[in-house]
């Protein structure tokens, strides 16, 4: 079932001089099977929005329904909701705390009351899905792992709960180019194997363009646009007015356009190469 967000508003520190409206009448729907991108400049309300999705912030104005659960309800089954919506925060490795990697991955499962016998299997499965050599790392301290491994272990801790919806906040922050590529392919793998709906927040338009089928653009708490990336990412004027970039491929195409080279629209490097090749062949004729 989809995630329906209707007229959602949220104000921080109400009735104090620090009062700040973080979300203002946001309405959109995330369908099952979407890889949904949320973009916006810093302070546009992305984090506030995603924290609403698993009731870390309770709905105060407006309405959210996730998988049929109405998040405005007082007696919300938080455990069920939080195992339905998995949340991978920015720098998830900072949430590791247990003595061993195995225990850390099992933390969420214990909290939601999964049977002891089942925990071991699910922990192994999650760790291996996230590309960890489980036998090698399971009894090591999470603080001994390398940066990339730590992030994978932290993600495994969320995956172990088998969430149908998986939310990533800046999943590639602080990673080197290879780490980024590996993480993005991990997200693709997770979408195919355990979580059918992926929501990702990112500042990197190349990642969003390569991953997402739909994108919501936030601007100062309001929904500026919600559409397929190909409808949004070619509009450099609109994006830059919202403090955002266009994907590198589009930037290159726009530079070429100024030189009189008009390519078929392309958002990702492979598509750009394809379009350029077509142009080249055409021009040689």
């Amino acid at each position: 079932m989809p995630i329906v967000i209707e007229n959602l508003s949220y104000t921080y520190m109400k009735k104090t001089p620090y009062e700040k409206k973080a979300l203002d009448g946001v309405t959109f729907t995330i369908e099952d099977g979407d890889t949904f991108g949320i973009i916006g400049a810093t302070g546009s309300g992305k984090s506030t929005l995603i924290q609403h999705l698993n009731a870390l912030i309770r709905v105060t104005e407006g309405k959210i329904v996730v998988n049929g659960m109405n998040l405005s309800e007082k007696k919300l089954d938080l455990k069920r909701l939080r195992s339905t919506v998995g949340m991978v925060f920015q720098y998830p490795e900072y949430q590791l705390f247990e003595e061993t990697v195995e225990k850390d991955i099992a933390f969420g499962l214990k909290n939601i009351g999964v049977a002891e016998a089942e925990i071991a299997d699910r922990v192994r499965e999650a760790a291996e899905l996230c590309g960890l050599d489980f036998e090698e790392v399971k009894s090591r301290s999470p603080f001994e792992l390398s940066g990339g491994q730590m992030r994978r272990a932290a993600i495994a801790g969320v995956i172990a709960m088998r969430p149908e919806i998986l939310v990533f906040d800046e999943p590639t922050a602080g990673l080197d180019p290879r780490g980024r590529a590996e993480l993005l392919s991990l997200i693709r793998k997770l979408k195919d194997s355990c979580s059918k709906t992926i929501i990702m927040v990112s500042h990197n338009m190349d990642e969003i363009a390569a991953m997402c089928n739909r994108v919501a653009v936030l601007d100062e708490g309001r929904l500026a646009a919600c559409d397929a990336p190909r409808k949004l990412f070619f509009d450099e004027t609109m994006l830059s007015s919202l403090g955002l970039d266009v994907p590198t491929a589009v930037k290159l195409a726009n530079l070429l356009k100024k030189r009189g080279v008009e390519l078929r629209p392309a958002m990702t490097p492979p598509a750009f190469a394809e379009a350029f090749w077509e142009y080249y062949i055409e021009a040689r004729r």
Binding site: L56, F89, Y94, G108, V158, M161
Partner: protein
């Protein structure tokens, strides 16, 4: 987390906010001393009026001031009840089983509760109207005579300002980690005391790890900019005593004199005049 932020600086444009931090610290100390000298209802009335007018001038809403009092309300009630039952001198007004309530006890209990209330409200006002940075600058300046005995005043002030500076950061970090663990199904508001304390481990351990990392990074950053606590450092913001500060000192002195007069000269005569029933 809102409980932690009580007494947090409340921005407003008021004469109290604009007072020199040193003057405010001195006045707070004077106020605390004065409250301990008060022994009569008249004195408490004067102190209450004084405090009320300062709060009024500071433009900090009463609700914000009383948030702090609410946090220690239990302590005030506890002291009140304890005093009420434990003091045996005086005329017995009411007695229940082994407990006697005497007129002296009633007086004493009311006065102690008032004293606590005034002390807490008065000192909160200092932190509500002074930014942490001004506060440490003020303390550093007030402690500077200690430099004569080679006391590292500047270093202490630096440690204080770093600690204060990182309180909001730590709160934010705590919130983040709590959210991350909550997202993994942890709950922090269920179960008994022991269970709750144990539930905090998944927050405290990452918090310590990141604090140590942060401290390390800060030290490196300071080193990289050749920071040293030399005595010749100049300040961007120089503290200056102005006419307003002198006026505040005089008003406070007048208040303090009145309290001393009431204590040693009137000998609670005003109380007997107005509250003949006691």
């Amino acid at each position: 987390m809102n409980g932690i932020s009580f007494g947090q600086y409340y921005p407003a444009d008021s004469p109290i906010h604009h007072l020199d931090a040193r003057i405010k610290i001195i006045l707070s100390v004077v106020f605390i001393a004065a409250v301990f000298f008060v022994k009569s209802y008249f004195g408490y009335l004067v102190t209450l009026l004084f405090l009320a007018s300062v709060i009024g001038m500071s433009r900090v809403p009463l609700s914000v001031v009383f948030k702090t009092v609410k946090a220690v309300l239990f302590l005030i009630i506890f002291t009140f009840v304890l005093n009420l039952f434990l003091i045996d001198e005086g005329r017995i007004l009411w007695s229940l089983w082994i407990f006697d309530i005497t007129d002296q006890a009633v007086h004493y209990a009311i006065m102690m509760a008032l004293r606590l209330f005034l002390l807490i409200t008065g000192t909160t006002l200092l932190t509500l109207t002074t930014t942490p940075m001004d506060l440490t600058d003020g303390i550093e300046s007030l402690m500077s005579p200690l430099k004569i005995i080679k006391f590292p005043v500047h270093d202490v002030a630096l440690i204080m300002s770093i600690a204060l500076r990182f309180i909001p950061t730590l709160i934010e970090e705590t919130n983040k980690i709590m959210n991350a663990q909550k997202a993994r199904g942890a709950s922090f508001d269920h179960g008994g005391l022991f269970k709750r304390a144990k539930a905090l481990l998944p927050v405290l351990i990452p918090l310590f790890v990141s604090s140590i990392r942060r401290a390390d990074e800060l030290a490196l950053a300071m080193d990289a900019r050749c920071y040293n606590a030399s005595p010749n450092r100049t300040r961007r913001k120089v503290l200056k005593i102005g006419g307003r500060d002198i006026a505040a000192l005089f008003i406070a002195a007048a208040y303090f004199t009145l309290i001393l007069l009431d204590r040693y000269f009137f000998l609670s005569a005003v109380d007997r005049l107005f509250f003949g029933l006691f």
